[in-house]
């Protein structure tokens, strides 16, 4: 594909054609990171880290810069203690939140399948009672994966749906309950309050459950993703990010900015619309893809 090749060529040019490590090299590296949505601030931070590391390792050869840089980024992504996505204790309740259209409902279908395959008893709660046909969409995923979906009718109170689902999950001794939520922009105070209400119900009704709060981010999103992560994190203490739509040409570089500004690990990635298009996040692969 043309776009990808363009970028690959550029990187190879960059690291092969320069005789020495100079400002021009760093400028071009900056350009690559910016076009991957890493953002200006994080790009500058990364380049400073790179310069420091090059000094420590006494690197003189241009060809080594790329490897050093990958190490720097990978280290940044992995140095915090982010355990991979897994169900460690049951029951677990997984809340899936995010702005409109990022891939919450689809990711829930994929996650449900994965957890079921891992041997868990899984249930889904249709907590999006607002979006047109959101419940029907989730039911299709329930059918596809053979996972029961607890739902009420469109327009009902999401907190009530989650309440019901928790009782049902307890009665059926479900291992993992996954809750869909309506897409909401983080700057909508009333919608964020509605989310807080759902969380209060969970605290009250399911204190014994392990909580996982996944923020879904669309890899195509630019710098606004940082704001999304910040505000949702204040409202809901996110435990991990699901980065979707990485099958496009967007790099999702903004998660580097989120990683450097907030302490939230990426746990899963979405690479398509099918049930199997879900992968555990791998920092090494991610960094490779950033350069390819």
């Amino acid at each position: 594909d043309k776009t990808r090749k363009g970028i690959t060529d550029k990187i190879d040019d960059l690291f092969n054609s320069y005789g020495e490590i100079d400002d021009k090299l760093f400028d071009e590296l900056e350009e690559i990171l910016i076009t991957a949505d890493v953002g200006m601030q994080t790009t500058m931070t990364l380049i400073d880290l790179l310069k420091a590391e090059l000094k420590v390792r006494k690197v003189k050869d241009v060809h080594e810069v790329k490897t050093v840089f990958k190490d720097v980024v990978e280290k940044m992504l992995t140095e915090k203690d982010n355990k991979p996505f897994s169900i460690e204790k049951t029951p677990t309740i997984i809340m899936v939140i995010g702005v409109n259209g990022v891939g919450k409902t689809t990711s829930i279908g994929k996650i449900a399948q994965k957890l079921k395959d891992d041997g868990n008893r899984v249930m889904i709660a249709a907590g999006d009672t607002f979006r047109a046909a959101a419940i029907e969409q989730l039911k299709v995923w329930g059918d596809r994966t053979g996972v029961p979906v607890v739902h009420q009718s469109e327009g009902s109170d999401p907190a009530a749906v989650v309440f019901d689902a928790i009782q049902s999950a307890k009665a059926r001794k479900v291992d993992v309950l996954i809750c869909d939520t309506a897409g909401r922009l983080h700057n909508k105070v009333n919608l964020m309050n509605e989310l807080a209400k759902v969380f209060r119900v969970i605290e009250r009704e399911y204190p014994e459950a392990e909580k996982e709060v996944l923020l879904v981010l669309d890899a195509t999103t630019g710098q606004n993703a940082i704001q999304q992560a910040k505000v949702f994190n204040e409202a809901a203490q996110i435990t991990g990010i699901v980065l979707t739509k990485l099958d496009g040409t967007a790099k999702g570089g903004v998660v580097l900015a989120i990683d450097s500004e907030l302490d939230i690990p990426v746990k899963l990635i979405g690479v398509g619309e099918k049930v199997e298009d879900l992968q555990l996040f791998d920092a090494h692969d991610f960094v490779e893809a950033l350069f390819n």
Partner: protein
């Protein structure tokens, strides 16, 4: 954030310069660095930013500073004018076919807001005395048809569907025949979300285009899109020759630099702005407002406009 302080930084960069003379090359360069950062933070594409900065720098050097402005404000004024010019200076409306039905086709990435926008357009058109028909050409996404039906019902606009076992090309063709028979003067085709690099699905859109010859193909673009917006727009445009863009989710707090990128690479106008999930949340698009939103300096700009 770089943004909040762009105005301050520009003022700061010029604080030494007290006289009201001409803008010097050095001063302009200093200011342009701040402008560049601001545009990048707003997600304007890197290449678009580069070209823009070059152009503005050229214009600004040597320009006289207006009596009522500081040099910093003078630069902002020039930047804003050029940005507005790039966004397109006037509103461009949807065009109707000389003989009905007018066919509008939505296209865009997954989750951009196509289906919702179909409902919004249906609502506006109906209000303006048209008899629109919504058409469910998304046979892939779970419950996409049902979603369009719910949306259609909310705005009281009929929805044409043939289920998910018929090809979108056939559905589009039948829908047009249906519209002619039942006097629907605007046909709005909802299509499945697709990646711009998905050749099979892009081919499908081309076939729909060939089959029903839409008056307008509208790219629905999420205002939060980052640097990749140019690739998306370039691909959709080169494959389909889009007529315009509808920008969605502008009710968020994104600066929306993608709007500028898309405009710059395709030259196609942005025809509508969507500002919420409700089916009335659609507005005409004002290029000048978008320019100041991208710059993140609404207040400063209104001060300058008064000057």
């Amino acid at each position: 954030m770089v943004f909040e302080s762009l105005a301050e930084k520009l003022q700061g960069a010029f604080s030494q310069l007290r006289g009201k003379g001409k803008l010097s090359e050095k001063d302009v360069k200093v200011a342009m660095r701040e402008v560049k950062l601001a545009l990048l933070e707003a997600d304007v594409n890197f290449k678009v930013v580069k070209d823009f900065i070059n152009k503005v720098t050229e214009r600004a050097i040597g320009e006289s500073v207006l009596q009522s402005l500081t040099p910093g404000q003078q630069v902002i004024k020039i930047v804003n004018e050029e940005l507005t010019a790039l966004m397109g200076t006037e509103q461009v409306k949807i065009e109707f076919a000389s003989s009905p039905p007018t066919i509008l086709m939505m296209a865009g990435l997954q989750g951009a807001g196509k289906t919702t926008t179909c409902g919004k357009l249906g609502h506006i058109l109906k209000k303006n005395g048209k008899r629109p028909l919504l058409v469910a050409c998304d046979i892939y996404r779970p419950a996409a048809i049902k979603q369009l039906q719910v949306v259609g019902e909310k705005v009281d606009v009929p929805v044409f569907t043939m289920g998910d076992q018929v090809s979108p090309v056939e559905i589009a063709k039948s829908a047009v025949a249906h519209a002619i028979k039942y006097n629907n003067d605007v046909v709005i085709l909802d299509t499945a979300g697709r990646l711009h690099i998905d050749e099979a699905l892009m081919e499908e859109l081309k076939k729909i285009k060939e089959a029903v010859n839409p008056k307008e193909i509208l790219l629905v673009l999420d205002a939060m899109t980052g640097q990749d917006a140019v690739n998306v727009a370039e691909h959709f445009n080169s494959q389909l020759e889009i007529n315009g863009v509808i920008l969605s989710k502008l009710d968020g707090d994104t600066r929306g630099g993608a709007a500028l990128s898309v405009r710059a690479v395709t030259g196609k106008p942005i025809k509508y702005a969507c500002v919420g999930e409700k089916l009335t949340d659609i507005e005409e698009f004002f290029p000048d407002r978008m320019a100041s939103r991208i710059l993140g300096m609404g207040d400063v700009l209104s001060l300058i406009e008064k000057a």
